[in-house]
Amino acid sequence: MKVIYTDNNATTKVADEVIEEMLPYFGQLYGNPSSMHTFGDQVVKKIKQARQRVADLINADPDEIVFTSCGTESDNSAVFSALNANPDKKRIITSNVEHPAILNLFKFLQDKKGYDAVFVPVDQKGHLDLDILYDSLSDDTAIVSLMWANNETGVLFPVHEIAGKVTEKKILFHTDAVQAAGKIPIDVKAAGVDMLSLSGHKIHAPKGIGVLYVKKGIRFHPYLIGGHQEKGRRGGTENTVSIIGLGKACELAARHLPVAGTQVKDLRDYLQNRLLEKIPGVSVNGDLETRLPNTLSIGFDAVEGESILLLLDREGICASSGSACTSGSLDPSHVLMAMKVPFKSAHGTIRFSLSHYNTRAEMDHIVETMVQAIEKLRAMSPFWKNGKMV
């Protein structure tokens, strides 16, 4: 069965060009970039190129790029660096819709390390309450960390504005841009952020490679303490192959950016409008405008997400649900709950996240499958009768 992949906010296909770029470095060119011989040095040159390519995607200088193992490591590194650089400051600020890499880290720091963590709420459209954010800024604040784009709804935070307000108070500002990268333009200089996290596998590079951008002049304390790699900012032998792959992926991402904002957005809008048109009792979560061009979080009244996913899976369609229904918890996701999405549609929320590999024919097949799936599930739902909620 042909796979229709619309779960690109979870992970992405490694681009063929990326694989091709990496292959020689698995086999023949396995040298260690730290070695004092020409064999290892060939890898150094290639890593240098990759660093430049990553820097170019976000308008950074190559020296500001630190390679890590994943987005989570980048996020943790940024926060711990800020805490170590400001040992006397006890307040840390984030939002309540962050990725677990930040959210659970902040909860840990609050519960186990005595930090005064502020979780800024969002409104029903997923927009951050800026008044609460700005009122929370204090002399005692070590870091503000806010995601650029939400992984579930795609809603964008006004990072440029926030970065300005936060950094003018001499407070460090970090943004998790894992979902934004490759989908919308990112310019760290224009945005004025101090630190920024990226993840390779969200932009068609392999899993296991991340980036932390650290602005020049920021005091940085390494999270992994070890050798001199990454100019002492991240110990551990470089994941050379993945770094090289990520470099290529960033080059491709920069090239595809215009397509992400047009072609992919058109497909997403097409899918959204067709679903709204064909199925009653449907609502889109999050602000329709201030949103990633590839993401659609859409709730279907009176049905449950996992059931929908399994019916999609039968047709080879990959998406994800907004309800946890993992572990014993039946709670809808923390993001939908924070947005006060009503339970009736929160449990039946599906996230479709597209890439430039998707086609219109695929969208048509998804719509057709969704119409049948929702009909089937509503026929057995005690909360749906005669075409509406009961």
Binding site: G328, H347, M380
Partner: protein, 187 residues
Amino acid sequence: MWDYTDKVKEHFLHPRNVGELKDANAIGETGSLNCGDALKLFLKVNENERIIDASFMTFGCASAVASSSALTEIIKGMTLDEAAKITNEDIADFLGGLPKEKMHCSVMGKAALKKAIANYRGVQIMEKPGEMVCECFEVTDLEIIDAVKANGLETTEDVTNYLKAGGGCGKCLDRIEEVIASVKAKG
């Protein structure tokens, strides 16, 4: 992805006895939209207290649907007394087992059945004895103690998997931990 048995998948994709039973004379409802799963069970019981037909309507995940479907298949033809003896394990076993995180789906089947039988007999289900610990899923401390003892449960996660307790708003998780600790303390 969940490791569902083929039978769970089959009952999810082709559930038996779906829909409202027009001439049902016993109905049992459990769960709610807010909880994330709900089951409405319809029974047609004859003068000899035999279940001659059963159907269901379920809102929930695949294992909730499969458990409901299995339940109706199991109880059809049984007397109410026989049906009353059905346990959630019977439902899970019928399906070749459920992932432990999904055991509460079979518990939901058992709960709806109990309510349907009470509904037929015109009996009010007595207020549960003990202290209500989980308000989302109406689970008492006594039920948690029983489940912990019977199944050797160790963590709040285990309790949630078996009874759903703590799987809703989560505010009772600390209390569940205390209950588990009290069972352990008594040995």
